[in-house]
Symmetry: C2
Subunit: 226 residues, 2 copies
DNA sequence: TCACATTTTTGAACGGGTTCAAAATTATGC
DNA sequence: GCATAATTTTGAACCCGTTCAAAAATGTGA
């Protein structure tokens, strides 16, 4: 057997046990003792693999993000318009997250949003960004490239990041959406996608383009590190 | 002495002790035992007045919201333009919150955002909305009414709620703003206020007005309860 | 195979949020 | 003033996330 495979197996059992319990009982009601027991190890051993309960959630979130990408990317067919692409990406995002709606708040806290200052462990890298932000934006870059007709040049470069922001907004909404099956989030997606697409087309008009440029400048200013 | 004044005094001592410790050491490092000790009562007694540690934070947030209103409202002078009003409201919001930046995440979790479903205590009223949402929107209603020139009729009704949404966005940004003194949030405010004002003026143009109307419809659809 | 280092696992503790039965205090009717 | 009810306070648990020293298991070189 390959070296470390026993260790990997333990880790895998922990992740599986945790995922199942998180899914079934949410974050609060799931205990580290419960996870460890289900995985057949001691509590302390769980902490050998994960530095905290939240770290397990973070890993789950990362997994779901990857799952989202590999579901969404192959559906971005050359020639579809931007609205259609946006709709697909946003919908698959909700599809993947759906079984873990009860973990939504934790996803926000531990993964989707930047680390609150002062809470950072000194060992964590300073550039710690939102989990998977770069990769997610890449998906939107692909969506923009493959879209027909092509979005106006004036906004094309900033579009992926803006669309990612839209996704963050929708996810935020979804987390606190208490409607059955989160229907309202679904509806939000089906309304948002065409609206954004329309906006992109209209950005050919000087008035609209100026507004969009102002917004982009605003966000740049907010992101600036000084 | 009036009946219950002893009880009120205990409660007040708890709030004061808690506020001071939250401010000085943030949420995590403040303990219920510490708060109780500083207030000169037992831990159990603290729980007689507050159902949880988070409940104390929620009360603090409510207090700060009230403080914000009574600071901002008198500055909304008849005749100033909308951008100026928006700037004042957003700035004073940050001013009031500033000493409690380390509590930001808790503010979001316990007060600013809707209660995550399933976490609700059965006793809580079903209509539990974001803390102070209604009152906050009222401030913006006042800001719109007093603004000169008056915003276009077409958007005037929806404006207060939209501006409140902007405030939520800025607050969200502020919570996770790790720049010294949250300068970036300040800058965001000074850039956002004139931009929004400009947008409101432009909403006289049919293209822009249609977009704004679409956005309003989108939000209505998201809010709908069916 | 043996000595030694490394990795993995354990179980007992600690700290802090929360609960609760009982005690102490305060209010109320007579 | 006194009995009784309601309010307030206590302190000892309980639960659960987390830590840690030490034990067990595994790997490595000779």
């Amino acid at each position: 057997m390959a070296a470390g495979s026993k260790s990997e197996a333990t880790r895998r059992r922990l992740v599986e046990a945790a995922t199942e319990q998180f899914r079934g009982q949410g974050f609060e009601r799931t205990t580290m003792r419960g996870i460890a027991a289900a995985a057949g190890v001691s509590v302390g051993n769980a902490y050998y693999y994960f530095s905290s309960k939240e770290a397990i959630v973070a890993e789950l979130y990362r997994t779901l993000q990857n799952q989202h990408r590999s579901t969404a990317l192959p559906q971005l067919r050359e020639g579809h318009n931007l609205g259609e692409h946006l709709r697909v990406i946003l919908q698959t995002n909700l599809d993947v997250l759906a079984p873990y709606h009860s973990l939504g708040h934790q996803f926000l806290k531990t993964a989707a949003l930047p680390v609150p200052p002062g809470t950072r462990k000194s060992s964590a890298p300073a550039d710690a960004e939102q989990v998977g932000r770069g990769k997610s934006i890449a998906v939107y870059r692909q969506a923009v490239q493959a879209a027909r007709p092509q979005p106006p040049l004036a906004v094309r470069d900033d579009l992926p990041e803006l669309l990612w922001l839209v996704q963050m907004g929708v996810t935020l909404f979804w987390v606190y959406d208490s409607s059955p099956g989160q229907v309202r989030s679904r509806r939000l997606v089906s309304n948002t996608a065409p609206l954004v697409a329309k906006l992109v087309i209209l950005s050919r008009l000087p008035v609209v383009r100026n507004i969009v440029e102002d917004v982009v400048k605003l966000l740049r200013g907010a992101r600036a590190h000084d």
